[in-house]
Amino acid sequence: MKWLELLQVAGVTLFSAVTLVVLYSLGVRLTAIAGDAQQKSPGLMRSLAYVCFAICGAAVLFGIYLIVPYFGK
Protein backbone atom coordinates (compact mmCIF):
# COMPACT_ATOMS: atom_id res chain seq x y z
CA MET A 1 0.00 0.00 0.00
CA LYS A 2 1.28 3.46 -0.82
CA TRP A 3 0.75 5.13 2.54
CA LEU A 4 3.82 7.29 2.14
CA GLU A 5 2.59 8.70 -1.14
CA LEU A 6 -0.78 9.33 0.40
CA LEU A 7 0.79 11.28 3.28
CA GLN A 8 2.96 13.17 0.86
CA VAL A 9 -0.02 14.16 -1.28
CA ALA A 10 -1.95 15.25 1.80
CA GLY A 11 0.99 17.27 3.10
CA VAL A 12 1.73 19.01 -0.18
CA THR A 13 -1.95 19.77 -0.72
CA LEU A 14 -2.21 21.30 2.74
CA PHE A 15 0.96 23.32 2.40
CA SER A 16 0.30 24.74 -1.06
CA ALA A 17 -3.39 25.48 -0.52
CA VAL A 18 -2.79 27.17 2.83
CA THR A 19 0.09 29.25 1.46
CA LEU A 20 -1.97 30.42 -1.48
CA VAL A 21 -5.06 31.21 0.54
CA VAL A 22 -3.08 33.07 3.20
CA LEU A 23 -1.28 35.16 0.60
CA TYR A 24 -4.42 35.94 -1.33
CA SER A 25 -6.32 36.77 1.84
CA LEU A 26 -3.51 39.12 2.88
CA GLY A 27 -3.74 40.72 -0.54
CA VAL A 28 -7.49 41.19 -0.18
CA ARG A 29 -7.06 42.55 3.32
CA LEU A 30 -4.33 44.99 2.32
CA THR A 31 -6.39 46.23 -0.60
CA ALA A 32 -9.25 46.82 1.80
CA ILE A 33 -6.96 48.69 4.19
CA ALA A 34 -5.59 50.80 1.36
CA GLY A 35 -9.13 51.78 0.49
CA ASP A 36 -9.89 53.02 3.99
CA ALA A 37 -10.44 56.72 4.28
CA GLN A 38 -8.21 57.28 7.31
CA GLN A 39 -5.31 55.24 5.94
CA LYS A 40 -2.08 57.27 5.94
CA SER A 41 -0.07 55.33 3.39
CA PRO A 42 -2.51 53.73 0.96
CA GLY A 43 0.20 53.50 -1.67
CA LEU A 44 2.38 51.26 0.45
CA MET A 45 -0.51 49.00 1.40
CA ARG A 46 -1.65 48.77 -2.18
CA SER A 47 1.79 47.81 -3.42
CA LEU A 48 2.13 45.21 -0.66
CA ALA A 49 -1.22 43.81 -1.76
CA TYR A 50 0.04 43.65 -5.32
CA VAL A 51 3.11 41.74 -4.16
CA CYS A 52 0.82 39.17 -2.52
CA PHE A 53 -1.29 38.86 -5.67
CA ALA A 54 1.85 38.58 -7.79
CA ILE A 55 3.10 35.63 -5.72
CA CYS A 56 -0.32 34.00 -6.12
CA GLY A 57 -0.08 34.60 -9.86
CA ALA A 58 3.33 32.94 -9.89
CA ALA A 59 1.80 29.95 -8.07
CA VAL A 60 -0.90 29.70 -10.73
CA LEU A 61 1.77 29.81 -13.43
CA PHE A 62 3.63 27.04 -11.62
CA GLY A 63 0.37 25.08 -11.61
CA ILE A 64 0.10 25.48 -15.39
CA TYR A 65 3.73 24.43 -15.66
CA LEU A 66 2.87 21.25 -13.75
CA ILE A 67 -0.25 20.56 -15.81
CA VAL A 68 1.31 20.91 -19.24
CA PRO A 69 3.35 17.77 -19.86
CA TYR A 70 5.50 19.50 -22.47
CA PHE A 71 7.38 21.33 -19.70
CA GLY A 72 7.48 18.37 -17.37
CA LYS A 73 9.40 15.76 -19.32
Binding site: M1, K2, E5, L6, Q8, V9, A10, V12, T13, L14, S16, A17, V18, L20, V21, V22, Y24, S25, L26, G27, V28, R29, T31, A32, G35, D36, A37, Q38, C56, G57, V60, G63, I64, L66, I67, V68, P69, Y70
Partner: protein, 396 residues
Protein backbone atom coordinates in the same frame (compact mmCIF):
# COMPACT_ATOMS: atom_id res chain seq x y z
CA UNK B 1 -17.28 -3.35 -33.68
CA UNK B 2 -14.32 -0.95 -33.81
CA UNK B 3 -16.51 1.86 -35.09
CA UNK B 4 -19.07 1.12 -32.40
CA UNK B 5 -16.43 1.22 -29.66
CA UNK B 6 -15.04 4.51 -30.96
CA UNK B 7 -18.51 6.06 -31.06
CA UNK B 8 -19.23 4.88 -27.54
CA UNK B 9 -15.83 6.03 -26.30
CA UNK B 10 -16.48 9.51 -27.69
CA UNK B 11 -19.89 9.55 -26.06
CA UNK B 12 -18.25 8.55 -22.79
CA UNK B 13 -15.86 11.45 -23.26
CA UNK B 14 -18.87 13.73 -23.75
CA UNK B 15 -20.57 12.50 -20.55
CA UNK B 16 -17.26 12.86 -18.76
CA UNK B 17 -17.12 16.48 -19.85
CA UNK B 18 -20.57 17.48 -18.71
CA UNK B 19 -20.29 15.45 -15.57
CA UNK B 20 -17.14 17.22 -14.47
CA UNK B 21 -17.92 20.82 -15.42
CA UNK B 22 -19.24 21.16 -11.91
CA UNK B 23 -15.89 20.33 -10.32
CA UNK B 24 -14.30 23.43 -11.71
CA UNK B 25 -17.17 25.81 -12.26
CA UNK B 26 -19.84 25.14 -9.63
CA UNK B 27 -18.42 27.43 -6.94
CA UNK B 28 -17.56 30.41 -9.17
CA UNK B 29 -21.06 30.17 -10.65
CA UNK B 30 -22.57 29.98 -7.19
CA UNK B 31 -20.75 33.08 -5.95
CA UNK B 32 -21.40 34.99 -9.15
CA UNK B 33 -17.69 35.27 -9.93
CA UNK B 34 -18.38 34.20 -13.50
CA UNK B 35 -21.72 34.18 -15.31
CA UNK B 36 -23.01 30.62 -15.77
CA UNK B 37 -22.70 30.55 -19.56
CA UNK B 38 -19.31 32.24 -19.56
CA UNK B 39 -18.13 29.76 -16.94
CA UNK B 40 -19.00 26.67 -18.97
CA UNK B 41 -17.59 28.26 -22.11
CA UNK B 42 -14.33 28.98 -20.28
CA UNK B 43 -14.22 25.44 -18.91
CA UNK B 44 -14.92 24.05 -22.38
CA UNK B 45 -12.09 26.04 -23.97
CA UNK B 46 -9.67 25.02 -21.22
CA UNK B 47 -10.67 21.38 -21.58
CA UNK B 48 -10.14 21.63 -25.32
CA UNK B 49 -6.72 23.20 -24.88
CA UNK B 50 -5.84 20.72 -22.15
CA UNK B 51 -6.78 17.78 -24.34
CA UNK B 52 -4.46 18.96 -27.11
CA UNK B 53 -1.65 19.59 -24.65
CA UNK B 54 -1.34 16.07 -23.40
CA UNK B 55 -1.36 13.22 -25.82
CA UNK B 56 0.73 10.74 -23.95
CA UNK B 57 -1.25 7.53 -24.06
CA UNK B 58 -1.55 5.33 -21.03
CA UNK B 59 0.02 1.91 -21.42
CA UNK B 60 -3.01 0.16 -20.08
CA UNK B 61 -6.69 0.98 -20.34
CA UNK B 62 -7.60 0.04 -16.83
CA UNK B 63 -4.47 1.38 -15.17
CA UNK B 64 -3.49 -2.06 -13.95
CA UNK B 65 -6.85 -3.00 -12.47
CA UNK B 66 -7.10 -5.81 -14.96
CA UNK B 67 -4.05 -7.95 -15.54
CA UNK B 68 -3.53 -6.82 -19.09
CA UNK B 69 -0.43 -6.34 -21.14
CA UNK B 70 2.03 -8.63 -22.85
CA UNK B 71 2.24 -11.25 -20.11
CA UNK B 72 -1.37 -10.91 -19.02
CA UNK B 73 -4.75 -11.01 -20.63
CA UNK B 74 -5.58 -9.59 -23.98
CA UNK B 75 -8.41 -7.12 -23.67
CA UNK B 76 -10.68 -7.35 -26.66
CA UNK B 77 -12.77 -4.54 -28.14
CA UNK B 78 -15.81 -6.51 -26.89
CA UNK B 79 -14.77 -6.03 -23.29
CA UNK B 80 -13.95 -2.38 -23.84
CA UNK B 81 -17.37 -1.91 -25.44
CA UNK B 82 -19.11 -3.55 -22.47
CA UNK B 83 -17.04 -1.57 -19.98
CA UNK B 84 -17.80 1.72 -21.72
CA UNK B 85 -21.49 0.87 -21.76
CA UNK B 86 -21.46 0.41 -18.01
CA UNK B 87 -19.60 3.68 -17.49
CA UNK B 88 -21.83 5.71 -19.83
CA UNK B 89 -25.07 4.43 -18.33
CA UNK B 90 -23.88 5.06 -14.78
CA UNK B 91 -22.77 8.56 -15.75
CA UNK B 92 -26.22 9.23 -17.16
CA UNK B 93 -27.96 7.92 -14.05
CA UNK B 94 -25.85 10.03 -11.69
CA UNK B 95 -26.32 13.07 -13.93
CA UNK B 96 -30.10 12.57 -13.84
CA UNK B 97 -29.92 12.43 -10.06
CA UNK B 98 -27.58 15.41 -10.00
CA UNK B 99 -24.87 13.49 -8.19
CA UNK B 100 -21.22 14.29 -8.78
CA UNK B 101 -19.49 10.96 -9.25
CA UNK B 102 -16.16 9.91 -10.66
CA UNK B 103 -16.22 9.11 -14.37
CA UNK B 104 -13.00 7.15 -14.16
CA UNK B 105 -14.33 4.99 -11.36
CA UNK B 106 -17.40 4.29 -13.49
CA UNK B 107 -15.11 3.28 -16.34
CA UNK B 108 -13.06 1.05 -14.04
CA UNK B 109 -16.26 -0.54 -12.73
CA UNK B 110 -17.59 -1.22 -16.20
CA UNK B 111 -14.30 -2.75 -17.32
CA UNK B 112 -14.08 -4.92 -14.20
CA UNK B 113 -17.60 -6.22 -14.71
CA UNK B 114 -16.95 -6.91 -18.36
CA UNK B 115 -13.63 -8.62 -17.65
CA UNK B 116 -15.10 -10.85 -14.95
CA UNK B 117 -17.78 -12.10 -17.35
CA UNK B 118 -15.61 -12.14 -20.44
CA UNK B 119 -12.45 -13.59 -18.92
CA UNK B 120 -12.99 -14.56 -15.30
CA UNK B 121 -12.26 -13.48 -11.77
CA UNK B 122 -8.55 -14.16 -12.11
CA UNK B 123 -8.26 -11.25 -14.52
CA UNK B 124 -8.87 -8.70 -11.79
CA UNK B 125 -6.04 -7.33 -9.73
CA UNK B 126 -7.89 -6.84 -6.46
CA UNK B 127 -5.02 -5.21 -4.62
CA UNK B 128 -4.85 -2.53 -7.29
CA UNK B 129 -8.61 -2.06 -7.07
CA UNK B 130 -8.26 -1.40 -3.35
CA UNK B 131 -5.36 0.93 -3.85
CA UNK B 132 -6.61 2.83 -6.87
CA UNK B 133 -10.32 3.01 -6.31
CA UNK B 134 -11.47 2.24 -2.81
CA UNK B 135 -8.82 3.95 -0.67
CA UNK B 136 -8.71 7.14 -2.77
CA UNK B 137 -12.51 7.31 -2.54
CA UNK B 138 -12.18 7.45 1.23
CA UNK B 139 -9.16 9.72 1.46
CA UNK B 140 -9.79 12.19 -1.37
CA UNK B 141 -12.77 13.90 0.26
CA UNK B 142 -11.14 13.68 3.69
CA UNK B 143 -7.90 15.35 2.62
CA UNK B 144 -9.60 17.95 0.45
CA UNK B 145 -12.25 18.61 3.06
CA UNK B 146 -9.75 19.13 5.84
CA UNK B 147 -7.54 21.40 3.74
CA UNK B 148 -10.53 23.41 2.53
CA UNK B 149 -11.76 23.74 6.11
CA UNK B 150 -8.43 25.12 7.31
CA UNK B 151 -8.14 27.43 4.30
CA UNK B 152 -11.64 28.81 4.74
CA UNK B 153 -10.99 29.46 8.42
CA UNK B 154 -7.75 31.25 7.58
CA UNK B 155 -9.27 33.26 4.76
CA UNK B 156 -12.06 34.54 7.00
CA UNK B 157 -9.78 35.15 9.95
CA UNK B 158 -7.35 37.16 7.83
CA UNK B 159 -9.97 39.30 6.17
CA UNK B 160 -12.31 39.98 9.04
CA UNK B 161 -12.00 43.63 9.86
CA UNK B 162 -13.12 45.33 13.03
CA UNK B 163 -12.86 48.93 13.96
CA UNK B 164 -10.09 49.08 16.60
CA UNK B 165 -11.92 51.65 18.71
CA UNK B 166 -15.58 50.83 18.49
CA UNK B 167 -15.24 47.11 17.72
CA UNK B 168 -17.81 47.50 14.97
CA UNK B 169 -17.50 45.38 11.91
CA UNK B 170 -15.94 47.34 9.07
CA UNK B 171 -16.65 46.71 5.40
CA UNK B 172 -15.15 43.32 4.83
CA UNK B 173 -14.40 43.88 1.14
CA UNK B 174 -14.03 40.23 0.31
CA UNK B 175 -15.13 40.75 -3.28
CA UNK B 176 -11.51 40.33 -4.39
CA UNK B 177 -11.83 36.62 -3.84
CA UNK B 178 -14.13 36.43 -6.86
CA UNK B 179 -11.25 37.35 -9.16
CA UNK B 180 -9.10 34.68 -7.52
CA UNK B 181 -11.81 32.11 -8.05
CA UNK B 182 -11.63 32.60 -11.80
CA UNK B 183 -7.97 31.59 -11.80
CA UNK B 184 -8.18 28.63 -9.45
CA UNK B 185 -11.21 27.16 -11.15
CA UNK B 186 -9.54 27.60 -14.53
CA UNK B 187 -6.60 25.57 -13.26
CA UNK B 188 -8.98 22.78 -12.27
CA UNK B 189 -10.62 22.84 -15.71
CA UNK B 190 -7.26 22.74 -17.50
CA UNK B 191 -6.03 19.87 -15.36
CA UNK B 192 -9.26 18.03 -16.11
CA UNK B 193 -8.76 18.41 -19.84
CA UNK B 194 -5.22 17.08 -19.76
CA UNK B 195 -6.17 14.07 -17.65
CA UNK B 196 -9.55 12.95 -18.82
CA UNK B 197 -9.51 13.41 -22.56
CA UNK B 198 -6.32 11.39 -22.53
CA UNK B 199 -8.16 8.37 -21.13
CA UNK B 200 -10.51 8.27 -24.10
CA UNK B 201 -7.62 8.81 -26.52
CA UNK B 202 -5.89 5.85 -24.91
CA UNK B 203 -8.95 3.64 -25.28
CA UNK B 204 -9.50 4.50 -28.94
CA UNK B 205 -5.83 4.09 -29.75
CA UNK B 206 -5.67 0.70 -28.06
CA UNK B 207 -8.78 -0.42 -29.95
CA UNK B 208 -7.23 0.72 -33.22
CA UNK B 209 -4.05 -1.17 -32.40
CA UNK B 210 -6.06 -4.26 -31.46
CA UNK B 211 -7.91 -4.02 -34.77
CA UNK B 212 -4.61 -3.85 -36.60
CA UNK B 213 -5.16 -0.45 -38.19
CA UNK B 214 -2.38 1.17 -36.19
CA UNK B 215 1.11 0.01 -35.35
CA UNK B 216 1.60 -1.01 -31.71
CA UNK B 217 3.44 1.50 -29.57
CA UNK B 218 2.52 4.51 -31.65
CA UNK B 219 0.77 7.54 -30.24
CA UNK B 220 -2.79 8.57 -30.94
CA UNK B 221 -3.55 9.75 -34.45
CA UNK B 222 -4.47 13.36 -34.94
CA UNK B 223 -8.14 12.74 -35.68
CA UNK B 224 -8.39 10.76 -32.44
CA UNK B 225 -6.90 13.63 -30.42
CA UNK B 226 -9.13 16.17 -32.14
CA UNK B 227 -12.28 14.07 -31.75
CA UNK B 228 -11.63 13.43 -28.06
CA UNK B 229 -10.77 17.06 -27.39
CA UNK B 230 -13.96 18.27 -29.04
CA UNK B 231 -16.13 15.61 -27.43
CA UNK B 232 -14.98 16.59 -23.95
CA UNK B 233 -15.24 20.31 -24.75
CA UNK B 234 -18.77 20.01 -26.14
CA UNK B 235 -19.72 17.92 -23.13
CA UNK B 236 -18.31 20.56 -20.82
CA UNK B 237 -20.11 23.33 -22.66
CA UNK B 238 -23.39 21.40 -22.49
CA UNK B 239 -22.82 21.74 -18.78
CA UNK B 240 -24.13 19.26 -16.28
CA UNK B 241 -26.38 21.88 -14.74
CA UNK B 242 -27.94 19.38 -12.37
CA UNK B 243 -24.57 18.55 -10.90
CA UNK B 244 -23.54 22.19 -10.85
CA UNK B 245 -26.66 22.89 -8.81
CA UNK B 246 -25.77 20.16 -6.33
CA UNK B 247 -22.18 21.27 -5.97
CA UNK B 248 -22.87 25.00 -6.07
CA UNK B 249 -25.85 25.30 -3.78
CA UNK B 250 -27.05 21.83 -2.81
CA UNK B 251 -24.27 20.95 -0.39
CA UNK B 252 -23.82 24.31 1.25
CA UNK B 253 -24.10 27.99 0.45
CA UNK B 254 -20.92 29.26 -1.16
CA UNK B 255 -19.49 32.74 -0.62
CA UNK B 256 -16.49 34.14 -2.54
CA UNK B 257 -13.79 33.64 0.12
CA UNK B 258 -15.12 30.20 0.82
CA UNK B 259 -15.35 29.31 -2.86
CA UNK B 260 -11.80 30.52 -3.39
CA UNK B 261 -10.56 28.34 -0.53
CA UNK B 262 -12.44 25.33 -1.88
CA UNK B 263 -11.13 25.77 -5.42
CA UNK B 264 -7.56 26.34 -4.22
CA UNK B 265 -7.74 23.14 -2.18
CA UNK B 266 -9.17 21.26 -5.14
CA UNK B 267 -6.49 22.53 -7.51
CA UNK B 268 -3.68 21.80 -5.02
CA UNK B 269 -4.97 18.32 -4.29
CA UNK B 270 -5.34 17.43 -7.96
CA UNK B 271 -1.93 18.74 -8.93
CA UNK B 272 -0.26 17.11 -5.92
CA UNK B 273 -1.95 13.77 -6.55
CA UNK B 274 -1.17 13.68 -10.25
CA UNK B 275 2.48 14.52 -9.64
CA UNK B 276 3.25 12.50 -6.54
CA UNK B 277 1.70 9.26 -7.64
CA UNK B 278 -1.37 8.77 -5.51
CA UNK B 279 -4.21 9.30 -7.93
CA UNK B 280 -7.26 11.01 -6.48
CA UNK B 281 -10.53 11.49 -8.31
CA UNK B 282 -11.20 15.12 -9.25
CA UNK B 283 -14.88 14.77 -8.47
CA UNK B 284 -14.30 13.39 -5.02
CA UNK B 285 -11.68 16.01 -4.22
CA UNK B 286 -13.98 18.81 -5.38
CA UNK B 287 -16.96 17.55 -3.39
CA UNK B 288 -14.82 17.18 -0.28
CA UNK B 289 -13.50 20.72 -0.71
CA UNK B 290 -16.97 22.20 -0.97
CA UNK B 291 -18.12 20.39 2.17
CA UNK B 292 -14.95 21.33 4.06
CA UNK B 293 -15.26 24.98 3.12
CA UNK B 294 -18.89 24.91 4.19
CA UNK B 295 -17.85 23.66 7.60
CA UNK B 296 -15.17 26.32 7.82
CA UNK B 297 -17.39 29.34 7.36
CA UNK B 298 -19.39 30.47 10.34
CA UNK B 299 -23.10 30.62 9.82
CA UNK B 300 -23.28 28.02 7.07
CA UNK B 301 -24.72 24.61 7.40
CA UNK B 302 -23.73 21.64 5.32
CA UNK B 303 -26.67 19.67 4.03
CA UNK B 304 -25.56 16.25 5.16
CA UNK B 305 -28.52 14.60 3.47
CA UNK B 306 -27.16 15.64 0.07
CA UNK B 307 -23.63 14.71 1.11
CA UNK B 308 -24.89 11.29 2.16
CA UNK B 309 -26.62 10.80 -1.19
CA UNK B 310 -23.38 11.65 -2.97
CA UNK B 311 -21.41 9.23 -0.81
CA UNK B 312 -23.98 6.54 -1.50
CA UNK B 313 -23.57 7.27 -5.20
CA UNK B 314 -19.81 6.73 -4.90
CA UNK B 315 -20.39 3.48 -3.07
CA UNK B 316 -22.56 2.25 -5.93
CA UNK B 317 -20.38 3.57 -8.77
CA UNK B 318 -18.14 0.54 -9.00
CA UNK B 319 -20.71 -2.25 -8.49
CA UNK B 320 -23.45 -0.61 -10.58
CA UNK B 321 -21.30 0.08 -13.61
CA UNK B 322 -19.72 -3.36 -13.14
CA UNK B 323 -23.15 -4.99 -13.35
CA UNK B 324 -24.07 -3.09 -16.52
CA UNK B 325 -20.63 -3.90 -17.93
CA UNK B 326 -21.08 -7.57 -17.08
CA UNK B 327 -24.57 -7.77 -18.61
CA UNK B 328 -23.33 -6.07 -21.77
CA UNK B 329 -20.38 -8.46 -21.93
CA UNK B 330 -22.82 -11.39 -21.66
CA UNK B 331 -24.91 -10.02 -24.53
CA UNK B 332 -21.88 -9.25 -26.67
CA UNK B 333 -20.57 -12.73 -26.00
CA UNK B 334 -23.55 -14.26 -27.80
CA UNK B 335 -22.48 -12.84 -31.15
CA UNK B 336 -23.47 -10.15 -33.61
CA UNK B 337 -27.13 -10.18 -32.59
CA UNK B 338 -26.10 -9.62 -28.98
CA UNK B 339 -23.95 -6.66 -29.96
CA UNK B 340 -26.85 -5.09 -31.82
CA UNK B 341 -29.22 -5.72 -28.89
CA UNK B 342 -26.72 -4.20 -26.46
CA UNK B 343 -26.14 -1.15 -28.64
CA UNK B 344 -29.87 -0.57 -29.17
CA UNK B 345 -30.69 -1.13 -25.49
CA UNK B 346 -27.89 1.24 -24.45
CA UNK B 347 -29.06 3.95 -26.83
CA UNK B 348 -32.64 3.47 -25.65
CA UNK B 349 -31.59 3.78 -22.01
CA UNK B 350 -29.64 6.98 -22.70
CA UNK B 351 -32.57 8.45 -24.65
CA UNK B 352 -34.99 7.45 -21.90
CA UNK B 353 -32.90 9.22 -19.29
CA UNK B 354 -32.60 12.26 -21.50
CA UNK B 355 -36.38 12.39 -21.90
CA UNK B 356 -36.81 11.89 -18.14
CA UNK B 357 -34.45 14.81 -17.54
CA UNK B 358 -36.71 17.07 -19.61
CA UNK B 359 -39.48 16.69 -17.05
CA UNK B 360 -37.54 18.77 -14.56
CA UNK B 361 -35.40 20.97 -16.69
CA UNK B 362 -32.28 22.35 -15.09
CA UNK B 363 -30.36 24.79 -17.24
CA UNK B 364 -28.01 27.69 -16.89
CA UNK B 365 -30.98 29.88 -15.98
CA UNK B 366 -31.94 27.99 -12.86
CA UNK B 367 -28.87 25.95 -11.94
CA UNK B 368 -27.95 28.21 -9.07
CA UNK B 369 -29.89 31.20 -7.83
CA UNK B 370 -26.98 33.50 -8.48
CA UNK B 371 -29.10 36.57 -9.04
CA UNK B 372 -30.65 36.27 -5.62
CA UNK B 373 -27.30 35.63 -4.01
CA UNK B 374 -25.83 38.61 -5.86
CA UNK B 375 -28.60 40.87 -4.62
CA UNK B 376 -28.17 39.61 -1.09
CA UNK B 377 -24.47 40.36 -1.15
CA UNK B 378 -24.93 43.80 -2.65
CA UNK B 379 -27.67 44.58 -0.18
CA UNK B 380 -25.53 43.56 2.75
CA UNK B 381 -22.64 45.66 1.50
CA UNK B 382 -24.85 48.70 1.38
CA UNK B 383 -26.09 48.07 4.87
CA UNK B 384 -22.59 47.73 6.20
CA UNK B 385 -21.30 50.84 4.51
CA UNK B 386 -24.19 52.71 6.03
CA UNK B 387 -23.18 51.36 9.40
CA UNK B 388 -19.59 52.43 9.00
CA UNK B 389 -20.25 55.94 7.76
CA UNK B 390 -21.38 57.30 11.13
CA UNK B 391 -18.32 55.88 12.85
CA UNK B 392 -16.09 57.54 10.29
CA UNK B 393 -17.83 60.80 10.89
CA UNK B 394 -17.22 60.46 14.58
CA UNK B 395 -13.53 59.89 14.01
CA UNK B 396 -13.26 62.96 11.90
Amino acid sequence: MVALVIALALFFDFTNGFHDTANAMATPIATGAIKPKTAVALAAVLNLVGAFLSTEVAKTISGGLIREGTDGIHITPDIIFAGLMGAVLWNMVTWLKGLPSSSSHALFGGLIGAAVVGIGFHSINFETVLQKVILPAIFAPLIAGLVAYICTRLAYALTSRHDPETGDKLTQKRGGFRTGQIFTSSLVALAHGTNDAQKTMGIITLVLIAAGTQTPGSGPQFWVIAACAFAIAIGTYAGGWRIIRTMGSGLTEVKPAQGFSAETSTASAILASSHLGFALSTTQVASGSVIGSGLGRKGTSVRWGTAGKIALGWLFTLPASAIVGALTALLVGTGVVGVIIAAVAGTAAVLFMFVASRKSHVGHHNAVEVEEAGHAVRFRKKKKSRKTTPSEDVQR
